[in-house]
Homo-oligomer: 164 residues x 2
């Protein structure tokens, strides 16, 4: 059963979103505290600076509750290359296909802005294997491996999905 | 003849450095206006926020004149990976070996901070061939090519120099 039919999406950012994003990102159990802080900082920056921040968002809600979000933006000094900075689904709402729907909609938004390509960076660590499979399943290609990027035994993997 | 013997280095950032950096970066003829603005913004941010900005600098002067600089910093969410954001020598002072000396000293500073690796990104465009040769000559390895990253026909090339 796909319970995600009741999802409602919005692109505008609301004053309660820093708290919502902290809750979503923390619930996944994937991120260190300083990484969670970075996720929240991007929302704060968008609230303070507006679109000039360069950070775009797509939030997904079930009823009154924001359950997932993506954060993306055009890469400075590029033409049509977008970075997918964050995509996360609250742990309570996993296995409903929300991540796929959210990513599809995010890609459509980027395509609508004449984006040529979407770049995603993730870690090569074992615990990120489901993340890497998620991107591969949804048409992202592994473009590069930066050995020892995050730490001596933690590579950065760069994926890309070309839209044109 | 190596006229660069008279170089004096400093790591502190002075109020006149945004202007000096603009002059150096613009003189190279390599960068678009919006890229030059980014270079200057990093100096401004360091002046405003201090070391909390995450931007470290090394300036090289001949007499009273700042003629070259590097800007670097530890990559967020990494352990010991440093990004070399900028390195530039004023066009008036080319072919004196200043770039090499500046990069050697920058690497020594990063090694002194327990940096494990230095990452450099540049463009695959023809006009950046001297830049790419510069890094290869100084021990950097090409780690990745991101096809069409900057624009449809402009790849990003990622180099790394491992210090440990």
């Amino acid at each position: 059963m796909n319970k995600s039919a009741a999802l409602v999406f919005r692109e505008n950012v609301l004053p309660g979103d820093p708290v919502a994003v902290r809750g979503i990102v923390a619930s996944t159990g994937f991120f260190y505290d300083h990484e969670i802080d970075v996720a929240v900082e991007l929302v704060d920056e968008r609230l303070q600076k507006g679109l000039k921040s360069g950070y775009l968002f797509l939030f997904a809600a079930q009823g009154d509750r924001t359950v997932a979000y993506s954060c993306f933006g055009e890469i400075a000094c590029s033409e049509g290359s977008y970075d997918l900075y964050w995509i996360a689904v609250h742990d309570d709402c996993r296995n409903q296909g929300i991540g796929k729907i959210l990513l599809d909609r995010t890609e459509a938004l980027i395509a609508g802005r004449k984006g040529r390509a979407i770049w995603v960076e993730t870690s090569g660590q074992e615990k990120y294997l489901p993340t890497r499979k998620f991107y591969l399943r949804l048409g992202y290609e592994e473009e590069a491996v930066l050995k020892g990027f995050y730490s001596a035994n933690d590579d950065k993997i760069i994926y890309v999905k070309r839209l044109v």
